[in-house]
Symmetry: C2
Subunit: 149 residues, 2 copies
Amino acid sequence: MALDLQHVAAELAARGLRLTRQRRAVLEALADTPSSLSPLQLYEAARERCPELGLTTVYRTLEVLDEIGALRRVHGPDHCEGLMPVSAAHAHTVVCSACGRVAEFTACDVRRISAAAARETGYRITDHFLQLTGLCDRCAARRSAKRRP
Amino acid sequence: MALDLQHVAAELAARGLRLTRQRRAVLEALADTPSSLSPLQLYEAARERCPELGLTTVYRTLEVLDEIGALRRVHGPDHCEGLMPVSAAHAHTVVCSACGRVAEFTACDVRRISAAAARETGYRITDHFLQLTGLCDRCAARRSAKRRP
DNA sequence: CTCTTGTTGAAAGTAGTTTTCACTTTCAGA
DNA sequence: TCTGAAAGTGAAAACTACTTTCAACAAGAG
């Protein structure tokens, strides 16, 4: 999941912030996972790279990443799920309902839908949040294999 | 926000559950608000109808409503926001970023987008979650009035 | 080197939610 | 109408996720 360390470092520097060992560990852990993570999971993953890391620092780093806009939050209709690094400027996510792997896609023509919604509700639409759920290729394959064994 | 009390009562009965005074208060409060509510806000609103209501019961009622499928959760990209009654079988929400009022719309042709996402990611799409943010008619009017006073 | 400012982890604190528990309500069946 | 079983209740305790506080540490500028 392309999370551009250089870009993050530059953004940090521009705000007088530093790219510390701890922050780097969090960033790398975040960039390295195929699924979205909870703060605690991220903490555990980052700890393998930097064992003296504290949970507090993870939360603080997430806050900073949020400000920079390098963080995406993955939701489901039921729960708030987890955290992902932002890669593409405008992308949406698909979460696998079986294994939790997250993929991004850029195809997004919500203009039509937005226009219809505006007509229906009278709201002036300024932003949208779209997230799909499904089965990733692996899980889909596994599932159909099970059905016809 | 049409929340069909009769329907909820029937669903409850079908599971051997009861529509108590407290549950009714929660349901009515939920049905009565134009914005989405947090559990605490819902508790306060429902208390005006049933002052001896406890917060615990609100959570328990929400759980039950969730099971029945009579509850919709409103999210934003950043935070998990609040709770809404389900009205239409399949509807999405628009939240006003200024005042928080929520409206529903039914226009939803995500087939095109789903197909494109499937092509891009290889996932088999099973579900979608779409939510728009914007300005409701009132807030939009107020805003343009301010700009040209 | 040293001053300034950002950064850190542990521990304390807070908020939201769930669990526990003793008591109450409802309702089907005697 | 009673009665017993099962659902439901609120208050308080417990739990979990997150934030704040604080004293110590690290890093770059001068």
